[in-house]
């Protein structure tokens, strides 16, 4: 589905499914890339919820992840350059799922961390980080990413 773009993360990103015949094991890493419009948000949150459910995370965790991905992607697409794509990588671990969502931006935009949406995001997910890549000497574009994790049991209620 995806061809490599300048990565925000250091780790390798693999694309694809799990081992054939072993279909109850979720793939460890999935990357999805779609045009950065409103439909992208639906796709990403659906993929996230599906991966969490297949990894047998709790229903609360599935709900939290779906909302967190919705919020992260909704925020990012408002800053995406026209005709570019939203990229999400999903890393499924034993005890958590980490999602990195990113878009290409026109300049060094950042998300407003005083917004209600940001508060929701940081409440639902742990380790929420905003990462940005600035153009290098080879003309890489600006890229803004959000990385977040949701635990297997979901976010504890305070």
């Amino acid at each position: 589905m995806a061809r490599p773009e300048p990565p925000v993360t250091n780790g390798p990103v693999t694309c694809g499914s799990g081992v054939p015949g072993d279909r109850f094991d979720p793939p460890e890493d999935v990357e999805v890339r779609v045009p950065a419009g409103p439909r992208a948000v639906i796709t990403m949150r659906t993929v996230a919820a599906d991966l969490a459910a297949r990894a047998e995370f709790t229903l609360d965790a599935v709900a939290d992840l779906r909302m967190a991905v919705d919020e992260a992607c909704s925020s990012l697409i408002t800053l995406a350059r026209p005709d570019t794509r939203l990229t999400c990588t999903f890393n499924v671990h034993e005890e958590h799922i980490t999602v990195t969502a990113s878009v290409l931006t026109t300049g060094a935009e950042r998300l407003d961390t005083d917004s209600f949406g940001w508060r929701v995001l940081t409440t639902l997910a742990s380790d929420v980080r905003m990462l940005s890549a600035t153009p290098g000497q080879d003309g890489d574009p600006f890229r803004l990413a959000l990385r977040l994790s949701v635990e297997r049991l979901g976010t504890p209620l305070s």
């Binding site: 229903l59 909302m67 919020e71």
Partner: protein, 137 residues
């Protein structure tokens, strides 16, 4: 509310459908089915608006059929609560499902919103439209 004849009654992801009915004089129920997110805000807002135009002084927003309540949807619930209060009306929420309870609990908004378990409970909590002062005993 009638079931959607086209499928199992659940709208497309990212879409919501609303049905408005009068439950009692001045009390309308706006039933929402589907996703309450950035894309479907207008639909939900329109349903509440229709209830107000029909003379509702209390609106019960039935969230029993909500599949996803996103943060944009939670913001809408807060806005509607304030809007109606300013207009002398009242918004009550009904829904006990995880898809509604969970986001409101995680964000703490369940303490700021009038959330009831189901529509009958919300209707019972709605202020009577033309309440007269009780005679003093």
């Amino acid at each position: 509310m009638h079931p959607d004849p086209h499928d199992d009654g659940v709208p497309e992801p990212g879409a919501a459908e609303v049905a408005v009915r009068e439950a009692a004089p001045g009390v309308h129920v706006v039933a929402v089915v589907g996703d309450v997110d950035a894309q479907s805000l207008g639909t939900v807002r329109l349903g509440v608006e229709r209830a107000l135009e029909a003379g509702a002084r209390a609106v019960v927003l039935d969230l029993t059929g909500v599949v996803l309540l996103a943060s944009a949807g939670m913001t809408l619930l807060l806005e509607l609560t304030d809007d109606l209060r300013l207009r002398g009306a009242e918004l009550l929420l009904a829904g006990s499902g995880r898809t509604v309870r969970r986001p409101l609990a995680v964000t703490g908004l369940d303490r700021a919103l009038a959330l009831h378990d189901d529509v009958p409970a919300a209707l019972a909590a709605a202020a009577p439209p033309a309440r007269h002062e009780s005679p003093q005993n």
